[in-house]
Subunit: 205 residues, 2 copies
DNA sequence: AAGCATCCGTAACAATGTGTACGCTTATTG
DNA sequence: CAATAAGCGTACACATTGTTACGGATGCTT
């Protein structure tokens, strides 16, 4: 009951921080405003997170952990690689261009120390790319894909799937994608990937 | 001589602003620090640019103008479309992931008002995409490319060419590309684009 | 029920930012 | 040469931030 309460309050605080971040930006989101919105105290924030960066770092970590959990949960189902591959795209794309992820990317870009950005890429692509690579290797073993360098194949896939959507969303040039849009784009990306990976490829020099 | 001096000082100021922006970030780059570095006065900055956003907006505009000029100069040479297409890639990619462009993107992401971001996308993709579309249409007329919707073809090309490089560079996850890297990536993107655009395509729903 | 830790609300503090004002120097113009 | 405009350096008000500190309330433990 004690820890439960604490966890709930922690969720409230991080929720409040995210909301303020989304509406005001990193700069204008002060610790006091977060405390106020979460009905928590300034002192508590500093006791729990140390400082402003600490608070937002924990947001990044929480989100990255959730993303990884979702992906892993999705991959653990023992489907044929083809189906896993198909399911991966919309899930991944949806997560990467979600409002929350974009908000965090924006904050990371605005953080002067660069620590948030480091954390984000580390916990983001650093943790996700290997998972995708695993799926790709399994798909290759099953004859669905054909490639030499798994890392390059994943890079190509991410280019096709995500492209410059993230930066454009960070800059506010495009609104959030609807679910059908996500699915359409993912299916197109996969189709294109297969086309490119089945054609005769040039080798890396 | 009068205007000459003024223009020179303006260059010094914007140069100083860019340098500080690159090293300290948007938040930590104060007007006074810019003035100091440019050996100019605070008052002059405010007289010329109005406010902080105005200063950085003018940086964005200057860069966008330069990019467009470079591209247009490149496209005006009357080469066969194939050659134009080949030359476009490295030039465009180099410009989009250059230190200066990335610095400005970062600043735009950090600007709380979103005005810089708006300006950047407007003057950036908004002005560049039509130029690329022109090249593509000429290439199609010459039988080099095959597509229905020029906008979609350009989008696919940008995905292949730039991908998520911009956001990763903004987050500091990857260093600046060397010229050979730029050329390699551009040539691969073009090859892939041709493959995809010559294969039987699904139509948009 | 007493004691204790935790946390809220609020205040205080030092630092810094933007934007403005004001003498003083410097260069241009008639 | 005199007059004038522009710009530098400095200082200023004013707001806001991150961070620390403190008194009082609240709830858990013994």
């Amino acid at each position: 009951m004690r820890d439960e309460n604490k966890a709930a309050r922690k969720r409230r605080i991080e929720q409040a921080a995210l909301e303020l971040l989304a509406s005001k930006g990193y700069l204008a989101t002060s610790m006091l405003s977060v405390a106020k919105r979460a009905k928590a105290s300034n002192e508590t924030l500093y006791n729990w997170y140390g400082n402003k960066q600490g608070l937002f770092r924990s947001l990044v970590e929480a989100n990255a952990g959730e993303v990884r959990a979702l992906l892993e949960h999705d991959l653990v189902q023992d489907r044929p690689p083809e189906a896993t591959l198909k399911a991966l795209g919309p899930l991944l794309l949806g997560l990467l261009v979600s409002d929350r992820a974009i908000t965090l990317n924006k904050a990371a870009a605005a953080d002067p120390s660069g620590e948030l950005a480091h954390e984000l890429t580390q916990a983001g692509r650093g943790a996700v790319a290997p998972l995708i690579a695993d799926v790709f290797v399994k798909a290759r073993d099953a004859g669905v894909l054909r490639f030499v360098d798994a890392g390059k194949a994943v890079g190509l896939y991410l280019d096709l799937l995500v492209g410059d959507l993230q930066i454009r969303r960070v800059l506010g040039a495009v609104p959030a994608l609807t679910q059908p849009q996500v699915e359409r784009r993912a299916s197109r990306a996969l189709a294109n990937l297969k086309l490119l990976l089945s054609a005769p490829r040039h080798q890396k020099p």
